[in-house]
């Protein structure tokens, strides 16, 4: 089963995204910030990571940079799901190794389309 990790400090986003993805047959693991996510990816290697940008302790940008240093996550798709719409930050995320950028609120159908593009077998 395809595993997707959601990283967000908002309980609403964590729960709603988990519910949507679980309904579509994915296994979901959650983390409340970048630091929490780095701890969890060591134990449970996800096939896709969807992370928020603004989070306490470690934000999404730093998390992506750190995640790309982990050998098993070098090619794992990482999508930024955030309220941020600043083009400069998008560029920064791309440079850090992000696979894509989704602006909240994202339509579940659009989210599924993106997931199928980055995970063709899912």
């Amino acid at each position: 089963m395809t595993t997707i990790m959601i990283v967000d400090d908002s309980p609403t986003t964590l729960m709603s995204m988990s519910a949507i993805l679980t309904k579509d047959g994915f296994r979901v693991i959650t983390a409340v910030d970048g630091q929490d996510a780095l701890t969890k990816v060591g134990k449970d290697r996800p096939d896709l990571i969807i992370t928020d940008y603004n989070m306490p302790k470690m934000d999404g940008m730093v998390f992506i940079k750190e995640a790309r240093k982990v050998s098993g996550l070098r090619f794992t798709p990482i999508l930024m799901l955030t309220t941020e719409s600043d083009p400069a930050k998008r560029g920064e995320a791309k440079a850090a190794g992000a696979t894509g950028w989704l602006v909240k609120p994202v339509n579940p159908d659009a989210l599924m389309t993106v997931i199928r593009k980055v995970l063709p077998g899912a």
């Binding site: 309904k23 309220t83 719409s85 609120p105």
Partner: protein, 364 residues
């Protein structure tokens, strides 16, 4: 966020006008000190809005998940019903096929009975036709009797010479009598046989059809040759018709159940799609929370800076400490993360409204 508020409150504890300050400055400091708790109050109220909307969003999410789960259960049950109906349909189709076979057998039987009845009625007619032949035999007997009587008279006239002939005439008369008696007996037997054949073909049950059959002529026809044939034929036709009707109704019934089950599956899928969309819309809480947090941060900053103003007025702080206040609008604008915030800012300040050309979804 509450920890930040508490920190702000601590930094404002030293605010207050010096004893040497002019009455106007003292009053300004008191006004600022009086206004500062308003920032804290607004901050707390906005935090409460965030908490409330979060709770509401989570409740809506929970409810939506329950609806979705129920729809899933309905879809599951509908699927089972569809499978069951499908199984039953096959079974009922077999029953319908058996019924059609039965109908074919009944129709063959019907044809056989009609042919047999016709053959029997023909036989009865043939047997009754023999009565005519018996009439000829009886006529011959009567003529023979007359002839014997005449012979006997002629023998009497002949006297002694006619004695032998008289014996022969008597024998002929006796023979004619026996022939007539035998013919009558055969006639009775033929009549009895015809009657028995007719009786065997007659209907004695008093009704001509199974329940539900509409045939008012049946009773009137029962007991007659033609009626017997018609009654039996109608009965078999009614049975065949009932079999056809039953098979048709069974097919319609299973078809309707199957359609209903399929509709339930479709409806459940629609509910599933709608609840998924609703779950996605709950991201509004995260979006509004971030907008409110930006407002809260700004209020805190303004509170801190007003405290500094009070300090400058009281002579305890340097005038440079309030320089940031002059560029407050720029700092607020720089803190925006959403296009919507920038649009609201531009509407208030009269700045040109910029169109957001960045896509909501972008793969690098």
């Amino acid at each position: 966020m509450r920890a930040v508020v508490r920190g702000v409150l601590r930094t404002r504890a030293t605010v207050g006008p010096p004893a040497s300050a002019s009455p106007a400055v003292s009053r300004a400091c008191d006004a600022i000190d009086g206004a500062i708790p308003v920032f804290d109050l607004l901050t707390a109220q906005l935090e409460d809005v965030v908490d409330t909307t979060r709770q509401a969003a989570l409740s809506v999410l929970e409810g939506t998940q329950s609806v979705d789960s129920a729809a899933g259960d309905v879809a599951l049950e509908a699927g089972r019903l569809a499978e069951l109906t499908s199984d039953q349909s096959e079974e009922l189709a077999r029953i319908a096929a058996d019924s059609r076979d039965s109908i074919a057998v009944i129709e063959q039987l019907l044809a056989f009975v009609v042919r047999r009845d016709q053959a029997v009625f023909d036989l009865v007619a043939e047997v009754r036709g023999l009565q005519d032949h018996l009439g000829i035999i009886q006529k011959i007997s009567r003529s023979t009797t007359t002839l014997a009587l005449n012979a006997k008279i002629e023998a009497s006239r002949a006297g002694q010479h006619g004695a032998g002939f008289q014996v022969v005439a008597e024998e002929v008369r006796e023979l004619a009598h026996q022939s007539d008696s035998a013919a009558r007996d055969i006639g009775r037997r033929i009549e009895l046989l015809a009657h028995r054949l007719t009786e065997a073909m007659a209907d004695h049950t008093g009704s001509d059809a199974a329940p539900g059959a509409a045939d008012t002529d049946a009773d009137a026809d029962a007991g007659t040759d033609a009626g017997t044939d018609a009654v039996l034929t109608r009965r078999l036709e009614v049975v065949a018709q009932q079999q056809r009707s039953l098979a048709g109704r069974l097919e319609q019934f299973t078809g309707r159940i199957d359609d209903t089950a399929r509709q339930l599956v479709t409806d459940s899928a629609t509910v599933h799609r709608l609840t998924t969309r609703m779950m996605g819309q709950l991201q509004f809480q995260d979006v509004t929370a971030q907008m409110i947090q930006h407002v809260v941060g700004t209020l805190q900053q303004l509170g801190t800076e007003l405290t500094a103003v009070s300090g400058v007025l009281a002579g305890r702080r340097d005038i440079e400490e309030i320089a940031q206040l002059e560029s407050a609008m720029d700092r607020i604008r720089d803190g925006y993360v959403m296009h919507r915030q920038r649009m609201t800012h531009a509407k208030v300040t009269g700045d040109p409204l910029l169109t957001d050309r960045t896509p909501g979804v972008e793969l690098f």
